[in-house]
Symmetry: C2
Subunit: 152 residues, 2 copies
Amino acid sequence: MYRKSLADQECSIARALDVVGEWWTLLILRDAFRGVHRFDDFLTSLGIARNVLTVRLAKLVEHDILERRPLAGHAGRHEYRLTDKGRDLQPVLLALLRWGDRWTAEDGEPPVVLDHTGCGHDADPRLVCGHCGGELHPGNVRRRASEVAETG
Amino acid sequence: MYRKSLADQECSIARALDVVGEWWTLLILRDAFRGVHRFDDFLTSLGIARNVLTVRLAKLVEHDILERRPLAGHAGRHEYRLTDKGRDLQPVLLALLRWGDRWTAEDGEPPVVLDHTGCGHDADPRLVCGHCGGELHPGNVRRRASEVAETG
């Protein structure tokens, strides 16, 4: 299927998907958050084809989501580390995780539970308003065009 | 590119991506949240090929994310409405929107601002712990296998 580039759409969701809206990309990032940093480890963890992984990693480096840097003590080898831009994608993955836990888990039990080490309890991630802290849901969020564009 | 099914992976992120981890799927849902409900309106809004849209909508109906129902007053025509399972994907879209606003907006200004009608201010969505309300970030979330699986 031909993939139309969404980067020029006046919509941050479309632009975000243009960079990370691909299955493998998000699973590579999931693994990076879990501590996978080397090409061969991604290969093993994901069961992905070598050429696909090469292309995906290059795109993530190109977009400054992963940083490719020499692996200490291994001449000629590299590792991939999340940048600030990459680490800022964690809410996307946590939101996917929460939805998957709720709607796709077999036996009604999610395979993984998230602990919030800050308080020691299940994290049970919620999306809230940064101003008042109230939980956001479709009924209480309204889109408003900024001065830059009339539609998003 | 061959798409390996991720549905059988013991990971809610992989399972979630298996259902919604496709560009068009998430953009169809974005439009549904914005009030687009008819086939022709999705077609116009997305600039997507008719056959691709047909397949994507059918998958979303199959997975109970959209409901296809007769359009009142238009014999033989249908509309697509978000189910509870579909509406529960809003945090994923909001998390993508926030990231796109922050990292892909041109001129540093997001094209769309979200209002939280509950408090009347910019929503500026944040992901927080459902137990203590503290903001979640990569440094304070730890994965723990539930009793169902040892790895996720």
